[in-house]
Every structure is written in structure tokens, then in C-alpha cells.
Symmetry: D2
């Protein structure tokens, strides 16, 4: 059983009728719905306005994979909770950071870079698989399209990814490393660019397939119970 927590700000959906029209149950509700069709997943959700954003220590201790969407409230997001997520990843929790979550406090803590990029609303994207042996690409066509999406363009200031599973082409003339994996501590991270709130990205079947694959891929191989510490070796292994 993989325990999945879907965090979504849920602010656009509550404040912007045009976003609510696309996601009447919130983006988290949409993602929960398609993940519930899978075997072996136990799914809960969390939103910005819940106490501690719904991401208490207890919730994270019982989460194997955290799916994370944020945008409007990134500055207001609790430093304490951002650091808590950071530590949970280092202890083994998987993290799927969606779209504007590249600029979340947590992703900045994990990546160590500025996470800056170029952006423009109302573009059109075609995603190419550039790592066809990666499990996150399973069952997907060699390339697929999003009729409307926000452009994110290079240079994307991230550390060198372990794998660039998807590379995006934008009609407006730009490219992007749209699906990237990273290891940090015992945790696996997948960053996936699609998902601007004004477009029905998470209703797209290919996108759903990617996120579903990523959940299984991000599931922990091992989990630490406590934060790692430097260890003095008092008796050497030899002699």
C-alpha cells in the first residue's frame, strides 16, 4: 500500500470562478479521482487553509508520496512546514512537484538553485519522451500535445537532473525540461511542468498517466525514522 497525500493550495479554485469551473472539486480532487482507480494506493488531500496547511508532522510521517501544487500562496506558506517537507523527503518520502511548485519554498530548499525560468500564458505544448526506459514514461506515446498551456522556458535554473523524462516544445518558440527526476537523501523527486490552473491539464489522459506512473516510481525504497546525523565510528571496521 502506497500512502499518497495530495497537497493543493486550493486558492485559485475558491477565488476564481473560471478555475472552479474547470476543477469544481479542486485540482486535488481531480487528481484524487484518477488516482483512486489505481490499485494499492491510499489517498488523502491537504489544502493551504487547513491548520499547518494540512501537512502536520503526523500526516508526513504517514505519507509515502506527496503530490504538491502551489502558486498564489508560496510566500505565505509556512517556513516550518516547508522545512518539514524538506526533511521528510530526505528521510525517504517521494515528492511530485507540479507546475508552479518549482518556485515553492520546499523545492528551493531541496534544489539549492534559484529555480527561475521564462514564462508566458496561453501557449501550446508538445511533450517528447527523452528517457524511454524510465518507468515514468511507461505506456505513453513518443510525444503528446497540450492544446493550451502556460509556457515555461529555458534556462530553467535547476541542478542537473538525474533523468529528463520529458522535454517540452512550445509553439511560442521555446523549449523546457518538462519532466525531471532528482534524488535527495533517501527520497525521490519528480518535477512535472504542466498544470496551469486556467487550463484543464489534469483532465488530460496522458498527464494522468504520467502522474500515476510517478507515484509508483517515487514510492520509498527505504525510510529513515529520524533525521540522518553524522556518525562517529568509534571502533573501526578493520583492525
Amino acid at each position: 500500500m502506497i500512502r499518497v497525500t495530495i497537497f493543493n493550495e486550493n486558492i485559485h479554485e475558491t477565488r476564481q470562478p473560471e478555475v472552479r469551473a474547470i476543477y469544481p472539486e479542486g485540482m486535488h480532487g481531480c487528481i484524487k479521482k484518477f488516482l483512486e482507480k489505481q490499485d494499492g494506493l491510499e489517498i488523502r488531500t491537504a489544502t493551504f487553509e487547513e491548520p499547518e496547511h494540512g501537512l502536520t508532522q503526523e500526516v508526513l510521517d504517514n505519507t509515502d508520496v506527496l503530490i504538491y501544487w502551489s502558486h498564489w500562496m508560496q510566500d505565505e506558506f509556512s517556513d516550518v512546514v516547508a522545512e518539514r517537507i524538506h526533511q521528510a523527503v530526505l528521510k525517504g518520502m517521494g515528492l511530485i512537484a507540479l507546475h508552479s511548485a518549482h518556485f515553492s519554498k520546499t523545492m528551493k530548499l531541496l534544489m539549492g538553485t534559484s529555480m527561475t525560468l521564462r514564462w508566458r500564458h496561453g501557449d501550446r505544448e508538445r511533450l517528447f519522451i527523452t528517457s524511454p526506459s524510465h518507468p515514468i514514461s511507461a505506456g505513453l506515446p513518443e510525444f503528446f500535445e497540450l492544446p493550451i498551456e502556460e509556457m515555461y522556458g529555458e534556462f530553467f535554473d535547476i541542478p542537473k537532473p538525474d533523468d529528463v523524462v520529458f522535454t517540452g516544445w512550445f509553439a511560442g518558440g521555446e523549449v523546457f525540461r518538462s519532466g525531471c527526476t532528482f534524488q535527495r537523501g533517501r527520497g525521490k523527486i519528480f518535477y512535472f511542468q504542466p498544470g496551469h490552473e486556467q487550463y484543464p491539464i489534469y483532465h488530460d489522459e496522458n498527464i494522468q498517466k504520467v502522474i500515476t506512473n510517478a507515484v509508483y516510481w517515487c514510492a520509498p525504497v527505504r525510510k529513515l525514522q529520524t533525521n540522518p546525523e553524522c556518525t562517529e565510528v568509534k571502533a573501526p571496521l578493520e583492525g
Copy 2:
């Protein structure tokens, strides 16, 4: 001309006679001395007890490569200065982090991991070149030895390095990724494990060769004048 700044805490040397005996001019003095024999380097030093640890914004703005040794005062090191170095690296400054600097605030900010490892004083190390096409390995023998050194052992909790230039064997039974490179933003980073203050590591010719090579390798390819920001593309490149 590559402008090099050598930061050394210089606390062990001032408080511990046995360390001062090895490094009467401090480790920074020792490193400065062998680097001064090279062409094209302009070298200055900075120490913990100077105002802002000698690492003012003006100093960093005029530094191409920062060599950094720290240990005793890592908790006391200014958060502001640690973040200043972090940002300088992202803008293009090279960083050579030596020995216990793996656990400095700056390295934690840049790497995003716990930076934990196993350790034990008084071991013996043999370093093997595991990336013989890397410029940092130039002119060095396939392997070389340090008759006494502190053991640092795996698992070393770092992000996957770009290159593992040196892998260390320890007589006490452990291994370590002793020389690792990383890219962060526009900056290049070399972490090099040898350098416990109680042993004459920086007097060793091979070690001097490694650090010298690393200075040239870390020199900036480009430098940003200001911190990178997300850029809205108002007029698309196409159409």
C-alpha cells in the same frame, strides 16, 4: 586573471598549538603560498574573526573562485554571509569546499541534503582517480596516499555528483566519494574531502595539485550581475 579568495576559519590555528605547529600561517596561508606560484591568479584571504568573516558583498563581487575551509564555527557562521555566498555561486562564482566544509551552512544551502557521513580520526587514505578525463585530475598519479587523515565514510548524503573525480579508500575499512563536482546556477563547485586540521594535508604535493587544478576548473564561464529572476515573456519569440 582569476581572483581567488581563500576563506579559512583560522580558529584551530589560533587556539590549538599543535595545529599552529603544522600551519604557522594558518591553512589559508599555506594554500595561498602554493597558489601564488601559479600564473594568472590574484589571491586574497579571509578569516572567521574579520568583520562579516572577511566575506563582504564587495569581496564576493570581486571573487571568481572561493576556497572555503570551516569546522569549529559552523554554527556561529553568519546566516547572512552563508546566504551571500550561496547567491554568489548561483551567479557564477566557483566554490572549492574543503573537508569539514561539507557541513557548512553554505554547502547545505547549495546541496539541499543533510550532508551527513561517517567519520573517525587517525585513519589512512588512498585516493583513486575515478574520472581520468576530468581537468581536476590532470598531472596526478592513478592513486596516491595520505599517511594519516580523518576518515570520512559512506553513505555521504549528497545529491548525485556530476563527476566523482576521486574515490577514497581508508585503512579502517571504509570508502568515500572524496572529490565531487556539482553545478548550481552559473557556478561550479568542487568538494574535496582531505584536510583535517591536525594532519599536514595541505603540505602534500598531490593535494596542492588537486586544489590548483580545481581553481582553474571552477573559474566562472559567465557571471550574472544580479540574482536571476523569473522572466515573463511578453512578446513570444514566434508569431
Copy 3:
């Protein structure tokens, strides 16, 4: 169902009584035995003296993961079959290359490097996990020992691995990237150093765990039916 084929030369076992004493059913028989305890695997074996070394096109077409041990007959191994395995990997078949198989024709074709290393019989090894989030490391202790093993030492002339899951320490003073992963085409490759025929390596529980994990990890994400070819795009995707 993952279809596993275990290729073993089976020459040492038939010609050398001391090897047969350790592996009365051959190394392939030993590996088959512990894999048979797992769910979802369909296992067959192949040996050097069978026609086409037991690795006909039909066998490879029906193999998801090939485990491969070779040593004595590497020069005599059929060029045609070596190239057939090479192509099968590029089309998606997983490959687990054991011990001296680093120097097989197939591994040289896949890696493109000399695959040279240092070696010495009768050493002692300790393997450290250096990628604890990798599925191949699941369930294993942070490090484990082989009381007797052939030393393989650096520099190991391989392309930069995707992951170094295990790093080996040898009592004789050397280190080795003992467990390495690679992607080639649609196929995943795991090279694992332990397995000298004169020592009971494949009877070791940790070694069995590693190979078992690797089978699941190497299973194809997708398989091509024919060799990939360059494709002329006659009608562009855009306008």
C-alpha cells in the same frame, strides 16, 4: 510475468572440480534456485555449449531480463550472438552483467570503452550502498561483506554510470564501483562485480537480494519489435 533467462558459460563448473563443488548445478542453477522463490518470474537457463549458446533470436525475443556470467570463453563467444544480445538490449531487454562479464563482447559493444580494470584473486570485500534511494539497494544493510572475493580495482574504464549503487572496499587496498546502472536504447543494464567462480558468492544472501532486486528493476518499460531506424518526417508536426 517477467521472463528471465540466465546465461552462464558453465565451463568452469564442468572442467574444474573445485568450482563444481561450490556450484554442483552450475552458477546458473544456483541463481535459478533463489530466483524461483520470487513471484512473477518465469526462468530459463542457457549455457555456452548449447547451439548458439542457448541464446537464439527466439529465446531473446522472449526474454525480458538476461542475467549473464562469462569468463573463460569470452573470445570464443559468437560475434553474432553478442551482437544479437546488444540489439535486444537496445530494443528494451534488461541485462544484468555479472563479474567478469564486464569484459564480454556484449558489454564492450554496449559500453564503447575498454572495460579494463585491476584485479587480484583472494581478496576480501565490503560493499557500501552509495545510492540508498535506488530500488536495487532495497532491503540491504548499509554495508555488507564478502569474506573472500576477487579484487576488481579502479580505474574501471566504463562510461559514467547513471547510478553507482554499490562501492566496494577491498582489504588489499583498492576501491571499485561494484554496482553500476546504465541505460542504452530502451534497455536497462546493471553491472555487478561480485561473483568469482572459486568463491561461493552466489550463495550469499545479500548478493541474492541484489540480483533479485535487479531483475525487477531491469524489467522493460517498453519493448521495440524491430531495431530502431532513423525516421524521415515527411509531413512536419507544425504547419
Copy 4:
């Protein structure tokens, strides 16, 4: 002094007037011309119709960096010479493989993959720097354009590159890892996609800058005199 050899088939230029019109001295002549403006380079050329394609053992033994363009005669290219280049790279010679040379015998030997891709004449390309700390990107704008170029599209069946220095956007709707680095043995390799013979690509200033940077980057760190071999360690490093 870096000794550069520029190999160009020089078949298109001799047989096709429209190519000769663009490159009256051959593509090798054009490349030689802009490299000659640099300091510290000693440049010679070689073409397909010379004995041994102008790439005798003596020439390769005296080459630090080989620039290589091929297309029409890739099947007819000598197997012996292809293998000779392969071995020279493993011993430390740098290799800059241009455009259709991705499908040369030498690149297939070095990479081990099918090297297949999608292609279409008469497209338009924009190249983005995706590794701004890499020396090959020095002095170049964040992105630059080629008004007409052959499209090469993903999936490009290469091993995972060490660095993707440039990523290409094509007006026809495709993306490509256009500038990739690899290490093989002691040698460094840069593959660079632009350079279809019917378009004046090597007259472009940015392209010239890239190739010039690559020459310095590919220069050997060390060179072996003979092919590497497995080494038996008769006396262990440790008692």
C-alpha cells in the same frame, strides 16, 4: 599547443555545385579558417578520398582534438579507421562529432546505441543554452537562431549525456538535445547537431564560437601511449 585535425568527407562539396557554392574550400576549409584565428592551435585537415581517409595511425597519434563531419560515405568508411579513431578517443584524443556524424561508425562504436533520430530538411532552429556553466557555452547568448537547418528530432537514441549544453527548438514542432558531451576512456566527446551541408551553418558566428570553445574543452587531460589493458595486481597495495 593543441593539435587539431579536421576530417570532412568533402564529397558533397566535390559532387554538388550548390554545396560547393556555400563551401568553396569544403566545410573543413571553412572550419580551418575560423579556427586559425585562435591562439595555440595547430590545424590540419583530412578528407575521405585520401589514403586511409587521411587518418593514419601517425596522424591520430599526433592529434589532440579531431573534428569530424561525415554523411554520404558512412557505409564506405573504413572499418579499420573507424576502430582506430575509437581507440584514439579511449586513449585521450578529444572528438567533436558534427551533424550527421552521429551515424558514423566511430560514434556508434563509442556510444553503443542505435544513434537513430527523426529528421527533415528545410526547418528552422533556435538553440537554447541548457548548461550555462559549461565552457562550451562561454560567450554565447542565452539562445540563438539558425534561419534554415535540417531538423533532427527526439527520441535521439544516445546514452544519457554528461551535459546537454544546447537544446534545439524547431519551427516544425520538434525538440533535440543539440549539443551533448560524453566521456569515454580518457577522451572527451562533444556531439553538435547543426551542420547540414546545404545551408551555410559553419559560416554562422555563434556556431563558430561553439566549435572553437569545444576544441579547448576537448583537449586531452592525459593521453595513454598504448591501449589500456586489464592489470593483474601481483603484490597487493596492502600487506
